[in-house]
Symmetry: D3
Subunit: 163 residues, 6 copies
Amino acid sequence: MTSFQHNHEHIDENMFKIEVNLDDMSGELIGHLMEELLAKGANDVYYTPIYMKKNRPGILLSVLVSVDAVEKIKEVLFRETTTFGLRYTPFIVHRLGRDFIEVGTQWGIVRVKQAIYKGTIIQQSPEYEDCRLIAQREEIPLKQVYEEVYKQLMKTNHKDASK
Amino acid sequence: MTSFQHNHEHIDENMFKIEVNLDDMSGELIGHLMEELLAKGANDVYYTPIYMKKNRPGILLSVLVSVDAVEKIKEVLFRETTTFGLRYTPFIVHRLGRDFIEVGTQWGIVRVKQAIYKGTIIQQSPEYEDCRLIAQREEIPLKQVYEEVYKQLMKTNHKDASK
Amino acid sequence: MTSFQHNHEHIDENMFKIEVNLDDMSGELIGHLMEELLAKGANDVYYTPIYMKKNRPGILLSVLVSVDAVEKIKEVLFRETTTFGLRYTPFIVHRLGRDFIEVGTQWGIVRVKQAIYKGTIIQQSPEYEDCRLIAQREEIPLKQVYEEVYKQLMKTNHKDASK
Amino acid sequence: MTSFQHNHEHIDENMFKIEVNLDDMSGELIGHLMEELLAKGANDVYYTPIYMKKNRPGILLSVLVSVDAVEKIKEVLFRETTTFGLRYTPFIVHRLGRDFIEVGTQWGIVRVKQAIYKGTIIQQSPEYEDCRLIAQREEIPLKQVYEEVYKQLMKTNHKDASK
Amino acid sequence: MTSFQHNHEHIDENMFKIEVNLDDMSGELIGHLMEELLAKGANDVYYTPIYMKKNRPGILLSVLVSVDAVEKIKEVLFRETTTFGLRYTPFIVHRLGRDFIEVGTQWGIVRVKQAIYKGTIIQQSPEYEDCRLIAQREEIPLKQVYEEVYKQLMKTNHKDASK
Amino acid sequence: MTSFQHNHEHIDENMFKIEVNLDDMSGELIGHLMEELLAKGANDVYYTPIYMKKNRPGILLSVLVSVDAVEKIKEVLFRETTTFGLRYTPFIVHRLGRDFIEVGTQWGIVRVKQAIYKGTIIQQSPEYEDCRLIAQREEIPLKQVYEEVYKQLMKTNHKDASK
């Protein structure tokens, strides 16, 4: 296992949440928009089903974005949606430290993202895309790949514990 | 209080549920559709938010309809939605007996729908539209109108019990 | 086509979002509330299905309102819901410029709302109520009315483009 | 009926909403988390179903918490969830005055929480746990217990009104 | 590890799904109902948020129940909800074989439910209540208990594999 | 425009809906599953957010599949999910006739799927993937591509109407 990236735990006060309520745009176009927003600099994008006036099922579009990218994301939203306005508000993010390790499995290497909270590893998350590629190539269930990665992680952890 | 309608408790085996998944139609049009379907003979209509392929937020449209009205409702769905197909399945309904009574309040009469299960009144439901009209005319909270109707119902029930 | 209203693109920093979590109020009363809040000055109202403690399906009620109407809306919420408290937070709105044009169809005139972003028309939205009235009067699908309006809009745009 | 608690109507500006988006944690673990957060000082906790990238059904976890408990709740979230970060933002709460009265029923006493808005009782809410215990012990529908409590409340209010 | 229960994989054609749409009952009462239905013989119960007429956020209540318990569950639904009717339809269930094993951890024994598909163990699911009791007693995160159980399961499986 | 495929309007009585309730599987794995099921012969797949026991946010997985593919899909579900059982029920599908035409735009050809109801074209739906490729290649909003296709369709329809 080799560590190849590090980010320290920190508080980020330069983030905004942008919201748009959509009731006159199809799910087909809304689905496409998620990729666009992530490609243009959004940190995260998610949709919430909401009840709007006149019996309309609507979608609340939420974008998390750093202050530097707000204008760019606003432009994407105005160009790609049907909205006549959008709203935003600042918020604070507490991000854990991040590290990547590499774990060997019988089907090849999988990266695992680790979260560090006050100096201790608190989460270990196998990279979805690495696991998915193996599952597709080997024609095995995705959950089996995850299980194998966790198994290898536990072996390693056991060794560490026995030092 | 005067009873002016009666329907006996029964099992209805002539009902269908029609379903359509929608991902390329706006909430605005879907909202309008509900009224249309109820006007054209649907017993009930409801929408469920669903997750469809390609990150699309979709709507599952469900219509409950008696066998006689299936063709009419299918035509409305094909004409008013964007769907290329619809699915349906029969189901059984157990309907309670129904009766209406009239309850006097300081603002006028409100109809109350009663459900009868094995010969006993088991639900008492003030008519929404009667209550809403009073709330709007009197400019009082709707929940206050409901509370007053329940109060009058309890008085009456108390009298009945003391016979 | 005649333009009969204009609002410039602007940033509004005087808006609040008020939220209430509801788990002891029926859908019937919650449905009525939406109309009440819009009638009493809310800019927008929407409901989100949420999971609350003790297995309770709840509703998160959100109201978007300008600072001037906050007290009025708070009163409506306290009088019409069952809540013991409400929360709010300011947010910023970026509203596009707005203009209305009138479009002629074979069934009469329909207003179309246009959004203007940095001086360019970026959205064109047929007025729902105009279209719905035509659909009901003519007994045609609502989507057919929208399609006709878009067709007329495209003809016009084509003319403009050929100048 | 005896009053045994009082809290005045007030505005609280020391509240935060903490949010976490979860897409790699099971519903089983998320269900457990709600109890944990309430036990560790959260004022309220609720979950919202959201659509996340790559067709993932996710959960938006929201915690309402006073400024004093923010650090404690952050620790619970980092230890009990799989998240690599969390976000938060302050908000204002308007809480109504609160009082408890006791109402006698044929099955025992039930506490009723009252909300006071500008000096007037505006909500009366039977304590869920009191009603539930009676329903279970007496093997009667929970709604029947609530109805009886409302009936007793109305009798009392009637007496008050006739003074 | 000791096996103490066995159920063979089978197809069950004696199941019904009962559905009720609710728009005039509070989340508080609906939450209570889930426990009641499970206690009275329902195999499973779940709620779906739906959009009903007149802007009402409603709940679709679904109960999975064997044919023998249909009448009992119908009575609970009529007594505990506000509904005037309910609907149901048969369905087929394919249940995997089930076995329980016991796994030792540093905090005590945890039962693990195994699913057997065509003679092969295909799922291994630690019993939630066993894990939760340990998490509460030991004041450790629930996910840590699950991780430890999976670790012990992998050790065992490894031994089996090496025979 | 050239027509290159045709399917007649018909009723299909050989379809099944398979359902699984999931509360112990992450959104990450559930997202992957959708692609797998579509690749292995499912006609359609969708997820519904549901409320399960013990405060668990769950997902109802629904798969629409022809009778021939039921066994294959059952195997995928047992291998790729954590479920101990699944349920299914037959339903009837009414599919409209289908035809494809090709529409020329300034950026290239887009296929449009047409639905035929009782011999009349009732829906015209531009192929999402064709439009999306153009939007990405030309770096223009997806909705602009759709609008252009609709514009070309209207021109053509106008010509047809004038014959």
